[in-house]
């Protein structure tokens, strides 16, 4: 109750912080540069082994969700962000517009010198800003949308394309590395199988030369039969390894086409800036909440600081005294009117 008494006794203390915060929020929003968005859509091919839910720890996760997570993870890495900045127009744009990246309080003209750090390199700016600029969302089980918000249409479209390209590049690099290891492994295995087969063939040939009466199939001779079977077995083994080697080589050769996604909609530059009304409402709400918090804190502080008695209960509770009467406040004009003699 004392809180409400303070609140209604000092309405300005309650209202002013809210008004100030709303004005600051509106000023902040007005000082923000226009922004443009560009969206690219990827179709995720579920038949590619890496995208199959069967390979995922959680088999109920959509292929698009897997890819979305992968892109979001990569966006948080500095090397990926810098590569995107360099591939697209973002790094060049930031280099030519030193304050363009300023967001938050740094975007307010008078506060920019306080909040913007001139020593930050373009790479740092790209690494810091890219995460906030890019939104990766699934559009369905097999569609991932990459939306980039940037200060100009071309930067938005170029950066979105750069994100897609760099992601494809990273995926290709990872697949290439895996396939190279596989080729090397099967190459080694193939060599060993070939040597084993040659040894078996040499042993069979030597035995047949020493025993001309024995037919080449080894029928009727136990040793020749055993050597012939060894040759057959080693041949099968060799062919199997050869097949795997060829498969790995093929995979390495075609790695570029096995990224697991296709670009459905390439990012395009939109000349229409993003509507600021939604941001204005969001910023206004944030200002309102902050203002309310400040008001509540101020009123609470005022209430705590007010140690005077306001009600009969205060006297009874704090001092244990009997309150014989309570007299309300009355206007000075409530008394006689014939003379303004103050009592």
């Amino acid at each position: 109750m004392r809180f409400f008494e303070t609140l209604f006794r000092h309405p300005l203390v309650a209202i002013l912080p809210i008004l100030v915060c709303l004005l600051v929020a509106a000023g902040y929003q007005a000082s923000q540069p226009k922004s443009y968005t560009s969206t690219g859509s990827l179709y995720i091919d579920a038949s590619v082994p890496g995208n199959s839910p069967l390979n995922a720890a959680n088999q109920y996760v959509d292929p698009s969700t897997l890819q979305q997570s992968a892109i979001q993870e990569l966006l948080t890495t500095r090397s990926f962000a810098i590569a995107v900045g360099d591939k697209g127009p973002l790094a060049a744009y930031l280099a030519s517009h030193p304050r363009a990246e300023s967001t938050g309080l740094g975007a307010v003209p008078l506060l920019s010198s306080l909040f913007s750090s001139s020593k930050t390199s373009v790479d740092d700016q790209v690494a810091n800003d890219l995460t906030n600029m890019v939104i990766v969302a699934t559009g369905g089980p097999q569609v991932v949308n990459i939306t980039v918000t940037a200060p100009s249409p071309s930067v938005a479209a170029g950066t979105a394309q750069a994100v897609i390209d760099e992601y494809a590049s990273q995926t290709t690099a990872a697949l290439t590395s895996t396939d190279r290891v596989a080729v090397q492994y099967y190459d080694q295995q193939l060599g060993q199988a070939e040597a084993t087969l040659q040894r078996a063939q040499q042993q069979l040939s030597a035995y047949l030369a020493a025993h001309p009466t024995v037919p080449s199939t080894g029928i009727g001779n136990a040793t020749a039969t055993e050597l012939a079977q060894a040759v057959t077995l080693d041949t099968t083994s060799y062919q199997s390894v050869l097949s795997q080697y060829q498969s790995a080589e093929l995979s390495l050769a075609n790695v570029g086409s096995q990224t697991g996604f296709q670009v459905l909609d390439a990012p395009s530059a939109s000349a229409t800036p993003v509507s600021s009304s939604k941001k204005l409402v969001e910023t206004g709400l944030a200002g309102l909440v902050v203002g309310l918090l400040v008001s509540v804190l101020l009123i609470t502080a005022l209430t705590a600081m007010d140690r005077t008695s306001r009600r009969a209960e205060d006297i009874r509770r704090t001092l244990g005294l009997e309150v014989a009467a309570t007299i309300g406040r009355f206007p000075p004009s409530a008394a006689g009117t014939r003379r303004g003699n103050a009592l």
Binding site: A324, A335, G340, L343
Partner: protein, 244 residues
């Protein structure tokens, strides 16, 4: 803290005094009664009436109205108590300004500064010669013109026969006392009265100060809480469970 305290206004009395004679006819008594009701706001009279009922003294009594600091409404409430005693019980009441450091009662009532207590304690005069009529049978004994230091004046008062003269001459004596914490004579002056009443104005004196003031009195006094007004709308108070 006391800057926002706006004292109520009194009706004019100077013209009334000039024409008034010691004896009152019935018609004049009715006029005086109406005049008395106009002197003090009804809310103040009602509060004084309520306080007197609670305090529950019959007949002769001496009330001392004090407060923690200045600006809490001592003088207004002392005047209201005096008027209620006369209006409701037809008692002869003398209102005594014992705030010898900063006397103001005579100014507020539009009466002469003196002679009063300071002059009275210096000789062997009768109280009756020093009182001024406020209205009806309500009389003022002002602090007086003399500028002796207040503690000495109070000591002389305590040693004199003035208090007993007041008891004999009037049915009820209401003392407008100095504040307990802002006057060196506050506590001593309160001890001269049978029933000290503490006026606490809402939002003026911090509770620790009020507590300190109470500790200076011989016994816990009844309290009149003055200037109470809730800024919270009535509907909100009701919804918060405050039914007053």
């Amino acid at each position: 803290m006391t800057g926002d305290v706006a004292p109520p206004r009194l009706a004019p009395l100077s013209a009334l005094h000039a024409a008034r004679s010691p004896g009152l006819t019935r018609d004049k008594e009715v006029d005086a009664s109406q005049e008395a009701r106009q002197l003090v706001p009804p809310a103040l009279l009602q509060g004084a009436r309520e306080a007197l009922q609670r305090i529950g003294q019959n007949g002769h009594g001496t009330y001392g109205v004090t407060s923690t600091v200045r600006g809490e409404g001592r003088t207004s409430i002392a005047t209201a108590l005096a008027i209620v005693e006369w209006l409701d019980h037809e008692r002869r009441v003398v209102l005594v300004d014992l705030d010898l450091e900063q006397p103001s009662l005579h100014q507020r009532l539009g009466l002469r500064e003196g002679p009063g207590i300071r002059d009275l304690v210096q000789g062997h005069n009768s109280v009756e010669d020093y009182v001024q009529r406020i209205v009806g049978d309500v009389w003022l004994l002002s602090a007086g013109r003399s500028r002796d230091d207040a503690p000495r004046g109070l000591n002389r008062l305590a040693e004199s026969t003035i208090m007993s003269q007041l008891s004999e001459w009037a049915d009820v004596a209401v003392f407008d006392l100095p504040p307990l914490l802002e006057s060196v004579t506050g506590a001593d002056a309160a001890r001269l009265c049978a029933t000290p009443i503490l006026v606490v104005r809402a939002g003026v004196a911090p509770m620790p100060q009020v507590k300190e003031a109470v500790e200076r009195l011989a016994a816990p006094p009844p309290v009149i809480l003055n200037g109470v007004r809730s800024a919270v709308p009535r509907w909100l108070r009701r919804s918060l469970g405050d039914t007053r």
